[in-house]
Subunit: 435 residues, 2 copies
């Protein structure tokens, strides 16, 4: 079924781990079907790996250790699956400047140098696609960039890191500690030997930067994203959430927020959040990903699927590869990125959020009055209070209305110093309707 | 922010009801933002409506009752929101043949004449986009057509008709009859005065044809889709489902099925299905839409959102409009449809499915043996049997393993004639894991 009338689209593959292996297999085994979809055959022209001798499973004549030379060679399209910033950034800039389209899943690079890569693509007319960079197999970036291009996205909120979701889901269902659960995740291969990129929220922050950039037509980098990981979450936080019919998830939240003068800003943040168990994101277990999108006209949308893994990620890479190759054959190109809105990024301290605060307090009259006074001083309005006696102390749970994060932090800080407060058991932001 | 260096993209709007009104409002009110996203201004060049005097809310100088002349005029892009086959088909073919891109939400037309429209678009190099035709605001067709273009979709299953979902959800939660619930849906505006297109499954069948065509690179028309509506569903069906921890949904199901010789066919069908209450589609209430997609590499994906309504549908139309306009400005075009796989459509009788059969039988020994014998004769294997006494009869529930639909039907037919069977209370297909 391949279409021999058209010259082949020559593809260079940089990096060949789990995802690259799947991509290679599909390019070789399903060549006819891909050619039919593209309108021309795809030719895998070379695979750059650090140690060619370590890849007996790959076609030996395609292997090279010189990625730079492969990019400079006679290829039309570069698929990058190495990761990291340098030297990858240089190779991809070279490719784009020479008009070669680039497909990549490199979220760290995109979150930091997306503007530079995008400008290079725009200048030469090449395509830059990176569906695999966020939420693995879930078609998410193309819908944001194209399907909703005539709408006004107001919010993107989701679970985009499978490792932390696996850990939090397991802590919730077993009651085990963070440390025990992380060990389990490492043993099962869900967490890396050095888990920092996942558990400290760096991975989710890079993805938030990419999502916010596309959703709000504004350049947002990883440094603009407020980031808190899950290593501070302990069993008592999870238990406190459970008592309230809630669970804890690490969410990436990107919002369009209105300023006092009517202009708009963007807020992008990654932190643990308590959500009601009835919330659709609460049911997303294990290493799955799910993302909510709210748009002015479309309303609320949800996308759900596998966020990682060789085959799912390869699906996203191959979708981009087919798109880029089709554009090359048809003589067009995909939609350019647009950062025309150029909204300012609002710092976390000024971002409105809601807190759930769980306290152990002295069991005597007047305690609530003292605590409520602190909230009032900081102009934070209380949505709900629940009190429960236990021995000589009482447990007090306060959920606030929306207030600037800095005011909420200052409130907690001051409350923790009150004599009547024995312990601040848990402080966490909340999303979703109050139960 | 509009880009005055580029000539405007001139748009003709055919039809201006709820959706068209929203599209018009956005084109006029958000012209600058759309221009920035497209790279050129969009000019609404004319709006064709049957009775211009009935539209005082629209800019009068844009109105015309002559849609044909508007299409033939100096416009670049035609947005069609009239619906129905003729005379729309002729207008859209004219537009496409003249190289004008078309954006439409006309599922009936696409399900019947999609091949003809698509061929006209391919010949002239125009774009044909129709995201609004299936599942309203949910970005679904672009992901199928582009994001998953390098993958192998095996199944698309979902709730794509809001009216029937509203009725079935209400019957489930109130226990009311089909007739009462339909009246309620009509009063609330969820059902049309003539509800046949929805409740008899025609709308869902058109959408199934469109989904199957895109998912399997095969031309499937509405006539190829096996169609059963919900008007035969009664309270006892719903109650039977509820007793088994299940609920009833009208699903559009498109599958890639393997033939005995190893080749493949496509199955496309619309019918009521019992699914477990824990299934993610079971929780989709009211008039919402949700679609599952299974692909070889990506695994299981879900898309959820509003399937109808003025603003949500307008969001999909405008996303397509921006894509088509961008392509015009950039000089390219969107991906062509490909029907290269050209798989045969398997008739319903040979499509594997599973039945749930609820019977009232005589309460005496040997009844189950007689019934089991009928299943055995038709080579249908039983997955589960539950028996319950009530007065002089017993209630018997049988859930089968997967078998060709014709064999299942023949089995039910023969069982209904057995002396020991007092009544066939409910027969319904099932999907999802057995509880």
């Amino acid at each position: 079924m391949s279409d021999d009338r058209e010259a082949p689209v020559k593809v260079a593959l940089l990096g060949c781990g789990t995802v690259g292996g799947e991509v290679t297999r599909t390019l070789l085994e399903h060549a006819d079907e891909l050619a039919a979809r593209i309108g021309a055959p795809v030719e895998l022209a070379g695979i750059a790996v650090r140690r060619p001798d370590k890849h007996p499973e790959l076609p030996q004549h395609l292997l090279t250790s010189d990625a730079g030379a492969l990019v400079e060679s006679d290829v039309d399209l570069v698929v990058e699956l190495i990761g990291g910033i340098e030297p990858v950034r240089g190779w991809l800039l070279t490719a784009l400047r020479k008009g070669k389209s680039v497909v990549t899943g490199n979220k760290a690079l995109l979150a930091e140098y997306g503007a530079e890569l995008s400008a290079a693509a725009n200048e030469s007319g090449a395509d830059l696609y990176y569906e695999a960079a966020v939420a693995g197999a879930i078609p998410l970036l193309r819908p944001l960039r194209e399907s909703l291009a005539g709408d006004r996205i107001t919010r993107v909120m989701g679970i985009v890191n499978g490792t932390t979701n696996f850990i939090l889901s397991a802590m919730d269902s077993t009651g085990a500690s963070y440390g025990e659960t992380l060990d389990e995740a490492t043993r099962l291969g869900y967490a890396e030997a050095d888990p920092s990129a996942d558990v400290d929220g760096y991975d989710a922050a890079s993805k938030a930067a990419i999502l916010a950039s596309l959703a709000f037509h504004t350049r947002v980098t990883a440094a603009d994203v407020h980031r808190e990981g899950i290593s501070g979450i302990n069993s008592s936080d999870i238990a406190a959430a459970r008592r309230l019919g809630r669970t804890v998830k690490l969410l990436s939240i990107c919002e369009r927020v209105e300023n006092e003068d009517g202009s708009e800003s963007v807020s992008a943040r990654v932190h643990p959040v308590m959500i009601p168990r009835g919330h659709q994101l609460a049911g997303v277990g294990g290493a799955m990903n799910a993302v909510y999108v709210e748009a002015a006209a479309a309303g609320e949308l949800m996308f759900y699927g596998q966020g990682a893994g060789g085959a799912p990620t390869a699906s996203a890479v191959l979708g981009d590869l087919v798109s880029a190759a089709r554009n090359r054959v048809a003589g067009g190109r995909g939609p350019r990125e647009s950062a025309h809105a150029a909204l300012p990024v609002r710092p976390m301290g000024r971002t409105p959020t809601r807190y759930h605060i769980s306290l152990d307090v002295a069991d005597r009259p007047g305690v609530l009055a003292q605590i409520a006074q602190v909230f009032s001083v900081h102009d934070v309005s209380i949505a709900a209070v629940r009190q429960r006696d236990k021995h000589s102390t009482a447990s007090l749970v306060v959920v606030t209305h929306s207030a600037p994060d800095a005011a909420l932090r200052a409130t907690v800080d001051e409350i923790s110093k009150l004599d009547v407060v024995r312990e601040v058991v848990s402080v966490m932001r909340v999303e979703g309707e109050e139960s």
